[in-house]
């Protein structure tokens, strides 16, 4: 219901409801063990709270995917509340720790793209806290009412095409290699059959446009070029491994690609026994102390939130939903993307402002703390959305908020949590 | 009404054919459509389960049955899952008829042999009933129909009708192990049954529809029985979104199943790159 939902907030105003009587629609996602029981207690205690809130009960806050929250906005909510058991009280021991980390990153992302933080609220409400539940609902309802209807995801009139995309800074060139190391090993492995094929880059017809190539014979290894480019080799490797369930495949990989492969191994998407890496050098990732907005030339925190919102909603509205960002991304490794799932369909498949916004923010969120910052998403985007800024920013935020990962730890920092994670915004 | 706008049809009867195959009997909601709608055996339609989308099946009832349509489908994907849950009184969408058809007039006077497996009977059932409703115009009608098990046979009551008719020769068979204690039909695979029961033919036509493996092993038998590729006819189902040659996904080589099919002779299929990941 894309077109309709985009304008539903506005329609409520046009429909004649004046500001004095307008009431927000608030969707609450709550865990069944604590907050839902707390809401029950509020009810049985005959406590009154604003009736504009709709509770959706889930087993645990760990089950509450931030996508639900975006979906709620796309379907016409003006505000969202997420609530569950206090830290230490999770019915499933640690579901709320993982949830809390997600909330931290999700808020960070929404803030980066300029969404008003006052529309999304988080709280801990236990089964015994009927009174707190009432206070939270009042607080949230009042806050959202003061904001007025959610305006939808469509960019402001006239923002259509102008001034929304920047080019960012040129990527640092890799070291000018004159010879590709490892050719002899590749040839030997192809001859012995240790690998079925080796993936690398060969010179294209045009200068500076190398193309991905699978070398199947020792002769073809000679075609590999020493030059490097952001060509999405890791996604090609992953596709091949999935299309052909047998055999070992090689890949020529600099530090960035090796990191991506290591992550995919840690996430059990790649069987290390089926991959042989031929190491090469390459451009290092941008240093993590350099702000993402400076690297990628997008609005930073010094830009007012409304302007960040205008920038990103206009950029997302240009999205064609070709999913080139996803197919080019080494860590977008899902066998079936949530955007392609239809039972239920969580993300509208149509390139409407709402569908586009939800898609791009969801994809960025899925890279939080996992992005290898190769820039392939921005490179692949035919309409020039500076997507790489999002993953880079969340990487820095994850490092700041959760600290550096343990030695050798490559799983997403959002998969687990610690009791002492800080999230002062939670009510 | 525009090209992609379906007509609403009301379900007035349903029949559970097997545990996952269902037949819907449909009537147009618009009275004038009930009068004016016509189609030819072999054509298909796109059926809407609103909220999920459209699914393509051949019309399973013959054009000789006026006033309603039947569709029979296996619950496979999201659309058919929803259609399966529809009951009498529910409304679904239909647009069509699309595609080519069985050139029935060319079949007049000829012996017709139907070689069918499992859920593939519905598209040929349309033709079978069309022929039976004009029985005098055709030669012998022989049907070899098989399924994995007795429970997987569709249109069981109609099989009994055909069995009882003196002007139809019906052989039903189930795969070994698929029989029940009171099963009266044959036991074995369709190609074997075909070899044992179908007489040689010189000017007849064979209509083959079923799983790829059944078709693969039936073709040499038909060859032995004297059917040339021009005399072997089948009907295909590919994924479609538009049904009218625009959306670009049902092609096999340069042939659009929606426009140039779904009915093809084996000779026509020989020219298509069907074997190799087309």
């Amino acid at each position: 219901m894309s077109a309709e939902t985009d304008t539903r907030g506005a329609a409520a105003i046009v429909g004649g409801e004046d500001a004095a009587t307008w009431q927000p629609r608030i969707t609450a996602f709550v865990c069944r063990w604590c907050t839902y029981a707390g809401a029950d207690l509020a009810g049985t205690s005959r406590l009154k709270y604003p009736p504009q809130i709709r509770l959706i009960k889930l087993p645990c806050t760990g089950r509450i995917d931030p996508l639900f929250l975006l979906r709620a906005f796309a379907m016409g909510s003006d505000g969202v509340l997420v609530s569950g058991c206090h830290p230490g009280d999770c019915h499933y021991t640690s579901g709320n720790y993982a949830a809390r980390r997600r909330w931290v990153m999700f808020r960070e992302l929404l803030d980066f793209v300029g969404m008003d933080q006052n529309r999304i609220h988080f709280s801990w409400v236990s089964a015994a806290e009927g009174g707190k539940f009432v206070d939270v609902v009042r607080n949230v309802t009042d806050t959202v009412r003061a904001l007025g209807p959610f305006p939808g995801f469509a960019p402001a009139e006239g923002a259509l095409a102008r001034g929304w995309a920047t080019t960012g800074r040129a990527k640092p060139a890799g070291p000018a290699a004159t010879e590709l190391p490892g050719r002899d090993a590749m040839r030997a492995d192809l001859v012995s059959g240790a690998v079925k094929a080796v993936l690398g880059l060969r010179a294209g017809r045009r200068a500076d446009h190398p193309r991905a190539m699978w070398a199947r014979s020792p002769e073809e290894v000679g075609l590999f070029t020493a030059a490097d480019a952001a060509t999405p080799l890791v996604p090609l490797l992953l596709r091949r491994l999935r299309e052909e369930p047998e055999g070992v495949f090689g890949i020529v990989a600099g530090p960035g690609r090796r990191e991506a492969i290591a992550r995919l191994q840690a996430e059990q998407q790649i069987d290390p026994a089926r991959v042989r890496v031929y190491e090469r050098d390459g451009a290092p990732a941008a240093p993590s102390d350099e702000p993402a907005w400076e690297i990628h030339g997008v609005p930073g925190p010094d830009v007012p939130a409304e302007d960040r919102w205008a920038f990103w909603s206009a950029a997302f509205s240009r999205c064609l939903r070709c999913y080139a960002c996803r197919e080019g991304c080494p860590t977008c490794s899902c066998v079936r993307c949530v955007a392609d799932k239809t039972r239920p369909r969580w993300i509208d498949s149509s390139p409407t402002p709402a569908g586009n916004w939800v898609w791009n923010v969801t994809r960025a969120f899925h890279q939080a703390g996992r992005c290898v910052e190769c820039g392939a998403c921005s490179d692949a985007c035919p309409v020039g959305i500076p997507l790489a800024a999002l993953g880079a920013h969340l990487n820095r935020a994850a490092l700041r908020d959760f600290g550096p990962p343990a030695e050798g730890e490559r799983r997403s920092p959002l998969l687990f949590g610690r009791q002492d994670d800080q999230a002062p915004f939670i009510l | 009404m525009r090209l992609y706008t379906p007509h609403l049809m009301e379900i007035f009867e349903t029949r559970q054919e097997t545990h996952d195959v269902k037949t819907l009997k449909l009537r147009f909601v618009e009275p004038q459509m009930r009068e004016s709608f016509s189609f030819l055996a072999g054509q298909f339609g796109l059926y809407s389960a609103f909220g999920e989308g459209e699914s393509t099946f051949c019309i399973a009832s013959p054009p000789t049955w006026k006033g309603h349509l039947e569709c029979t489908f296996r619950a496979m994907g999201k659309v058919t899952e929803v259609l399966r849950r529809k009951e009498v009184g529910d409304v679904i969408g239909f647009r069509g008829p699309y595609g080519n058809h069985f050139p029935l007039e060319e079949y007049r006077g000829k012996d017709l042999l139907f070689v069918v497996g499992g859920i593939a009977l519905p598209p040929l059932r349309c033709l079978i009933w069309n022929v039976l409703d004009r029985r005098d115009e055709f030669g012998a009608v022989r049907i070899v129909y098989g399924a994995r098990s007795v429970a997987d046979l569709v249109y069981k009551h109609e099989l009994a009708d055909w069995e009882a008719r003196s002007d139809v020769e019906l052989v039903t068979t189930v795969d070994p192990g698929g029989e029940t204690p009171d099963w009266k039909g044959k036991i074995g695979f369709v190609p074997t049954a075909l070899e044992q029961y179908a007489p040689p033919s010189s000017n007849g036509l064979a209509f083959v529809c079923g799983p790829p493996i059944m078709i693969k092993f039936s073709m040499p038998v038909l060859d032995k029985l004297g059917f040339a590729p021009e005399q072997i006819v089948t009907t295909l189902e590919n994924r479609m979104k538009c049904g009218v040659g625009k959306c670009g996904r049902c092609n096999i080589g340069g042939t659009y199943v929606c426009k140039e099919g779904p009915v093809f002779t084996a000779r026509e299929l020989e020219a298509l790159p069907m074997g190799s990941d087309y």
């Binding site: 999405p232 | 525009r2 090209l3 459209e54 929803v82 009218v244 625009k246 996904r249 426009k259």
Partner: protein, 343 residues
């Protein structure tokens, strides 16, 4: 009489057009030129090179509602979406993109008229701009694909860059009417109009005809393995293309209320041909890439008599994996069957 127009003349004329119609033209953004409705003739990028995405979305939008359904009412209702087809001028369309419109015309009018497309098409005035030089010399090959970079027979108005300005020519009655009261006189078609020649205006000299002919017998040629195995399946080639037109039809909503919409789709996607049963006749990415090439150079020309590729070269520049259609055409245009290759 001087028949040359200046940019100011074009602006004056565009302002006149804007009074009565929507004008969609290339405008400059920091990410390059894009097609957008303009409010003022001053926004038009008169010398824009080539847009990354073709203007086809103004005839076949990336997203459109076909109808809205409401089954909760009695009787249930289907309400067709209003045909969103305001009178529009597509201004400064290069000949490759005009040829793309011709390709869409053929499919959308094949036996069944696609009404939403037709409504927009009928309301659109195509104003072409010839290319004096190839906007992207490493990927433009329109002349080899049978499109004259300097002339668009299917356009309503032809603007040709010439020394010191432009000449303007009306090719249809609609074009003539739109040019009534033009600030400068009109020109006649030059003698060589519409005659493409490989290499014209700096486009790549390829033997596309030979390649298309060779493709016919080389569907199972092993060279496909190496030509197609770098495809990442992103669909960008199809989304930037002026002639790709495959679409998806989906329902957005639930079983009571919602809308049926049409969105762009691409043969590169793995679920494009997947059956509900799980069977996929095109299970490998490399096969999906091959389908795209065959559709453009064999299947479509067999039906409609011209290529489904206009040589705009966008897919060459857009492919994140560096796949290069020009290389494919070079392979098939040059080497005999069974050998050759880019390797």
């Amino acid at each position: 009489m001087d028949q040359r127009w200046t940019v100011d003349d074009l602006k004056t004329w565009t302002s006149a057009l804007l009074r009565e119609r929507r004008v969609v033209a290339p405008v400059v953004t920091p990410a390059g030129p894009v097609w957008a409705p303009i409010r003022d003739a001053g926004e038009v990028a008169w010398d824009y090179g080539r847009t990354k995405v073709s203007p086809r979305e103004w005839l076949l939008p990336r997203h459109e509602t076909l109808f809205v359904y409401d089954l909760a009412t009695n009787p249930p209702q289907i309400v067709e979406a209003p045909l969103d087809a305001p009178p529009t001028v597509l201004l400064l369309v290069h000949p490759c993109d005009v040829a793309g419109v011709r390709a869409l015309d053929a499919v959308m009018r094949w036996d069944y008229i696609d009404e939403p497309f037709e409504a927009r098409r009928a309301g659109t005035l195509l104003v072409a701009l010839g290319c004096a030089a190839a906007p992207s010399p490493e990927s433009c090959f329109c002349a080899a694909a049978g499109v004259d970079p300097a002339w668009s027979p299917q356009a309503d108005v032809m603007i040709s860059p010439v020394e010191g300005g432009y000449t303007v020519c009306a090719l249809t009655e609609a074009g003539e009417a739109a040019l009534a009261g033009a600030p400068q006189p009109l020109s006649a078609a030059p003698a060589d109009a519409g005659r493409p020649a490989p290499g014209k205006a700096g486009t790549l000299p390829l033997d596309v005809a030979a390649a298309a002919a060779a493709l016919r017998d080389r569907f199972d040629d092993p060279v496909w393995e190496s030509l197609s195995d770098a495809c990442v399946g992103c669909g960008t080639c199809a989304y930037v293309c002026p002639s790709c037109h495959c679409f998806d039809v989906v329902d957005e909503g639930d079983w009571r209320r919602g809308e049926r919409v049409r969105n762009w789709d691409a043969c590169a996607f793995d679920h494009f041909t997947a059956h509900a049963s799980g069977h996929n006749p095109r299970p490998r990415q490399s096969r999906r890439y091959r389908q795209r090439i065959y559709h453009k150079f064999v299947y479509y020309p067999d039906k409609f008599g011209h290529l489904l590729c206009t040589g705009c070269g966008r897919c060459v520049d857009a492919c994140p994996a560096g796949m290069d259609l020009v290389e494919v055409l070079q392979v098939f245009g040059a080497a005999p069957a069974g050998q050759g290759g880019v390797r």
